[in-house]
Amino acid sequence: MFELLGVPPQALFGQLLLGLINGAFYAMLSLGLAVIFGMLNVINFAHGAQYMMGAFTAWMLLNFLGVNYWAALILAPLLVGLFGILLERLFLRHLYHLDHLYGLLLTFGLALIIEGVFRKFYGSSGQPYSIPEELTGGHNLGFMFLPNYRAWVVAFSLVVCLAVWYLIERTKLGSYLRAATENPTLVQAFGINVPRMVMLTYGFGVGLAALAGVMAAPIYQVSPLMGANLIIVVFAVVVIGGMGSILGSIVTGFGLGVVEGFTKVFYPEASNTVIFVIMAIVLVLRPAGLFGRAQ
């Protein structure tokens, strides 16, 4: 079969893995964006910067305090999530009753400031972050070599995405979230503290971005602009999946990562644009996105 396609299996599966890795980050980031947009009505343009902060927090925890990867996996999302909560209290909550554009502009500005501050201290070049000892090495699967850390990233991000989906779609807390997304006034009139829920939701979405950042640190270099490069693609993924759809962002994230990987094998010239081409087609045929509900 591979001979028919004229592609060696090493290259095919190698790119498939790379696609799944990218897809894992697309999925986790677009999931956070979807949760935040659903609840806050804010397009969180600072998401890439918050992802970068997650990676940097892990790097700082390791280099300044000797805190290892596994602890950073919990601590960095908490710390960056708290920073998100601070942003929500200080700025975002004044914008909920306004058009989406204001939230987008505010968070875009915040992203520029955050990335600028990190660039002032760390320059544009990346800081290395090594793979945790337990996950070094890899396995030869016969048709390809599978590095342990990459397998971990794909598996763990899948677990995180499914856990978030379960939390939102299948639990009591999730039913509050879904209800408040539809009609916050009524949910509050039932006695639920909606402003606090909104604040915690933003913190959660930001924490999810930071978690993706920690996971990315050993794969990509930890650099101030690592999020800026990724977030544009992630927004295209969100548009394709449909803004605000939880399952949609997970499926589209992984799916488009794989599509991008295969494009690198079969038509490398298009690999950087394929997602945007798909976005344009989806926008024409299904403006609400593949999984979105038309408003």
């Binding site: 009591k172 039913s175 509050y176 879904r178 209800a179 997304t181 539809e182 009609n183 006034t185 009524l186 949910v187 509050q188 009139a189 039932f190 006695g191 639920i192 503290n193 909606v194």
Partner: protein, 239 residues
Amino acid sequence: MAEGVTEGPLLAVQGLDAFYGESHVLHGVAFAVNGGEVVTLLGRNGAGKTTTLKSILGIVGRRSGSVRLRGAETIRLRSDAVARLGIAYCPEERGIFASLNVEENLLLPPVVKPGGMSAADIYAVFPNLLERRGSQGSKLSGGEQQMLAIGRILRTGADLLLLDEPTEGLAPVIVQAIGVVIRQLKARGFTVLLVEQNFRFAATVADRHYVMEDGRVVDMFRNDELDANMGKLHDYLGV
């Protein structure tokens, strides 16, 4: 309910003003509801009935005046705090959450006080909801949505129910069923403040009626005085 007799009315509204942006909708609304009563607000479209309910809960743009529950002032409280004092709301548009199924809708409003009905009790009152417990909220008929909107606020332990036009747009047989339910709720000790356009229906369930006009309460009848005042009522309601 469990509280026993309280001094004075359960709900006392005085000098209540409400605004949507620049427009001044309520002008010194005043009325009272005693514990265990079913009281209606009657009036034409736009008289301010719905706004009065929303102002009691604190979900209008701006409000002032006095809304006291068991003597305690609530006018400066946020709506979630008002709800936690034991007021539950069934909105005119029913407010069934489309992304939640029937059971999730039913269990959504948090319990604010002890003494509410259990989910099993509520399913016993509304057997249709039990059959459809797994259906999405968006898939229900108008009557089922109304049953669910009333049913879900009975679990919370709130003893004052604000029902906004529960019969609107429903078939006569369902309107009758809702009448039965409201009388059952009264028998269980709930206090009900009911907004209605349909005073024939209101007369079958209520103890007293307040008439609203242009954002004011202009008259009050006991239910047994209704026949004697039919002429006045026709003038007020324009029927």
